[in-house]
Amino acid sequence: MITYGVGYKLEHVNSDKQELQDGFKITFTYVVSFDERDGFVRLPRTYHFALPSVDGFILERLGASETRGLFGGVENQRQKLYSEACERAIGEVLTITLCEILGAGESDKPTSVIIFGPALPKVVGRFAHLRPPVNYNILWVCPKPFPEWIAERANEVLLFPPYSSSVNDTEGWEDEPLVVSFEYTPPDSNTPSVVQHLQMWPDTQRVDDRLLSGYAWAEAKFANRAFLPREIPIAAGQVQHHQDNPFEGGREEKWRTVKKDYKPLGFEVEGGGQLRSGSPRIGVDGWSIKWNKSKNKQAAEETKV
């Protein structure tokens, strides 16, 4: 099975220059593994986004009786525009990522694309418009509580639609939801995650215990010690690494390994040598990553604080 793990992180950027509006940036990347053989990490990218201008003034119209929104749920034009811009931007970077995955993919082989975070409607709509082939199983996995690492100040209550308590309880009648949501607790873990599955086609492979337990789940320290498919912590780790240690040398390789001594957010990957110069598995230069479940798990244990 080919498994892609996609990670992204959104950060607010307050401009210290008068002439510039506040904005935000998203750093994102993905990791691909080919069964237990080899895998690649895509060089993370950071896109900077401008916020739309808020027209007019915010009025205090009902200062003596209005609901201010202690737990959110009260509409505020500025916040609405901000959320809209951020969700759209997340949609953009994930769509670009999926397009890259679809363009590089090997036809007909069962492929999972697992995205870290909730399935935002703007992302779902964009993915659906791409009409991805049926052999691509697209899932979102998001631990509960929502990991602030993805986007600080996000409102967990509003992020998920009502979902089923388990994967066995998702059969609907008549309605045909594009996304099926349910809670899943991986083996050896006590932390549940919300799994959302894009059911684009009638013959899309249904998500069941067998499929989910087939992924290599690994503990992610940065996500409240939740267990996630191993590709996700590596992708997230690369994102964090990219932000903490911006590369200042020459041109970076598009595909690369993770440093052997680097522990991405509590998860270690053993790096190997360069796979093949010029023609790696998915058409660009890269390095192999040797997956070693037991060692990874051991490393994760060691890095627990």
Binding site: H48, A50, G103, P133, L178, W201
Partner: protein, 577 residues
């Protein structure tokens, strides 16, 4: 770099529309003359306009611009769907038709002294300057259209990719603003300035100002109301010409409807319209008596054409099929670098590639995507070089989608069925009624016009879910008075009538306007309420499989989704407000 030859202005003979000057070099318009201007010996003498007037308006359009306008179809391939040929009518044919109609209109106002001197404001303070500015604006009014014209606008609108510059008048406004400041037109602005406007001006003016005036006229933001009314308003020369042409075109096809303004000569309706028409002391265009009645005829005809032809379920059916192919192409060509590589067009860059070049810069995704797709379509426009207009481009897009591995096979089959239907129409081996019979599922569903946007959102997930089986089409009938910028009175969802202050019409509803009615109030939606078609239409299309159980199921699901969302279906005439 453009070759110098392409910057040469078009030949003056190219400005004369055979639609207006067929086998003649002069037109006599027997309009009711201004008593102070009429020849006392012959008070009923006509206003005469010659091809010399048309050629001598001082409009210089570069050959390259003419070529760009010429290679976009006027109808977005509707001619092909109804059994005609796309080549007969392109955007240049229509632009020069609108230009001819506009100059005829100006000639009557001028010859009959219907505009007071103080209403001709600097920099358009002489008839020579007005002709040049209005004429140039009319010749360039469609320069913002990319291949597939309105269809492409619709494609971007449904995926929320229209940029902020498209707020008032859609994609064409955004592209126009980009193209007007481009290299090919620089000489046009300079020639207008140096040869027509500057010599008699007592204040400084620059080429950029001339470009701004033309842009404002085309986009409906010019400050002189009566000039604005001619270029972009509910009765502008653009509408006059396309209704003239489309009415004539329909009579040459087997399409089952016939126009109601059917003219032997294009000046028949125009003569009525130019009777009793004056510009008042404030510069507003006053449609008195017969002029107002003729305008009402035009609006009635326009609504009829939209309802029964442009947006009719029969014509929408192939349009929606072409829409699906174009939309898939646009999405993949914009978002996927790998797909762009398969196109083998070296200068094309996808959206991620564009963003990569702006390292660290803050981007607005919609603006970036619009620029990407604009540049792609401007590049692909070069592929349109023969009388088949956009059809070969559609075929090329289909081929590229078929070859791309990143799209579901089942969905590709649907696209294939769409294209084979369109191809059969194009080659003439199949007629539209046959395609309709094989692909239109049951009958269209009608909703109130104001529910259109909500219906789109409700049906969006269903369209994704059943995209292998069927296409869902949603069209909204236009307003009777279609003008880009208007003032609104009232509040709320239903009670928000628009107003066009540049035009005055008689008091009361349109059915009460009589030959002696005086134009005393601004044109509003209220005046023409009787002409409205206030609904939107939802159609389910299952290419080549309309009779299948799956198609019926999708139709049922569409109907029940609309009902569940509490959207009132208009299923009996009494329910239509």
């Amino acid at each position: 770099m453009l070759h110098t030859d392409t910057l040469q202005p078009v030949d003056l003979d190219e400005l004369v529309s055979p639609g207006y000057f067929k086998d003649t070099d002069k037109i006599d318009l027997y309009v009711r003359r201004n008593p102070s201007e009429a020849d006392p010996n012959n008070p009923n003498s006509p206003v005469q306009i010659t091809t010399k007037d048309i050629k001598g308006a001082g409009c210089e359009i570069p050959l390259s611009v003419q070529s760009d306008i010429k290679h976009v179809s006027q109808f977005g391939l509707k001619e092909v769907w109804v059994g005609g040929k796309a080549g007969g009518h392109n955007r240049w044919e229509h632009s020069r038709g609108a230009y001819n109609a506009g100059l005829i209109w100006l000639k009557v106002l001028e010859a009959d002294n219907r505009v007071k001197d103080h209403c001709m404001r600097w920099p358009a303070d002489t008839w020579e300057k007005i002709r040049a500015l209005v004429g140039t604006a009319l010749l360039l009014h469609d320069y913002g259209h990319l291949p597939f014209a309105h269809l492409l606008n619709e494609v971007l609108e449904t995926i929320n990719w229209l940029p902020s510059a498209a707020k008032w008048a859609g994609l064409e406004a955004a592209v126009l603003q980009h193209r007007l400041v481009g290299e090919p037109l620089k000489h046009t602005w300079k020639a207008l300035l140096d040869e027509i406007i500057k010599p008699k001006a007592d204040r400084p003016l620059y080429s950029d100002d001339v470009c701004s005036i033309i842009k404002d006229l085309i986009l409906g933001a010019h400050g002189v109301p009566w000039m604005q009314a001619i270029v972009n308003s509910p009765v502008d020369a653009d509408k006059i010409d396309y209704i003239r042409f489309d009415s004539g075109f329909l009579t040459s096809t087997e399409y089952p409807i016939r126009p109601r303004i059917l003219e032997e000569k294009p000046t028949q309706w125009l003569t009525e319209f130019l009777n009793d028409q004056w510009v008042n002391h404030a510069g507003l265009l006053c449609l008195h008596g017969r002029s107002a009645i003729a305008a009402a005829d035009l609006w009635r005809e326009r609504m009829f054409l939209y309802d029964r032809f442009y947006l009719s379920p029969e014509v929408r059916l192939p349009e929606r099929m072409a829409f699906e192919i174009v939309q898939q192409f646009v999405i993949h060509a914009t978002m996927s670098g790998d797909f762009v590589q398969t196109l083998k067009e070296e200068s094309l860059r996808s959206y991620p590639e564009q963003v990569e070049t702006k390292k660290g810069e803050r981007i607005m995704p919609i603006e970036e995507k619009y620029q990407t797709i604009r540049d792609i379509m401007l590049h692909l426009q070069k592929k349109i070089r023969d009388e088949k207009r956009e059809f070969p481009l559609l075929e090329w897009m289909m081929q590229k989608l078929e070859q791309y591995k990143g799209i579901d096979k089942g969905y590709k089959e649907l696209l294939g069925r769409c294209f084979s239907s369109l191809s059969a129409l194009e080659s003439g081996t199949t007629k539209l009624p046959q395609v309709v019979k094989r692909s239109l599922v049951q009958e269209p569903l009608l909703l109130e016009r104001s529910d259109c946007k909500r219906a789109m959102e409700v049906l969006r997930p269903l369209q994704h879910t059943y995209c292998r089986e069927a296409l869902i089409d949603i069209v909204q009938m236009p307003r009777v008075l279609s003008a880009p910028r208007r003032w609104h009175t009232g509040f709320g969802r239903h009670d928000k009538p628009g107003m066009d202050y540049s035009i005055l019409v008689p008091d009361g509803p349109v059915s009460t306007w009589a030959p002696k009615s005086r134009a005393i109030r601004p044109l509003t939606d209220e005046c023409v309420k009787e002409l409205r078609h206030p609904f939107c239409r939802v159609t389910v299309i299952a290419p080549e499989r309309a009779d299948s159980a799956q198609a019926d199921y999708v139709w049922d699901r569409v109907r029940s989704a609309l009902l569940e969302a509490n959207l009132g279906l208009v299923e009996g005439i009494k329910e239509l407000r």
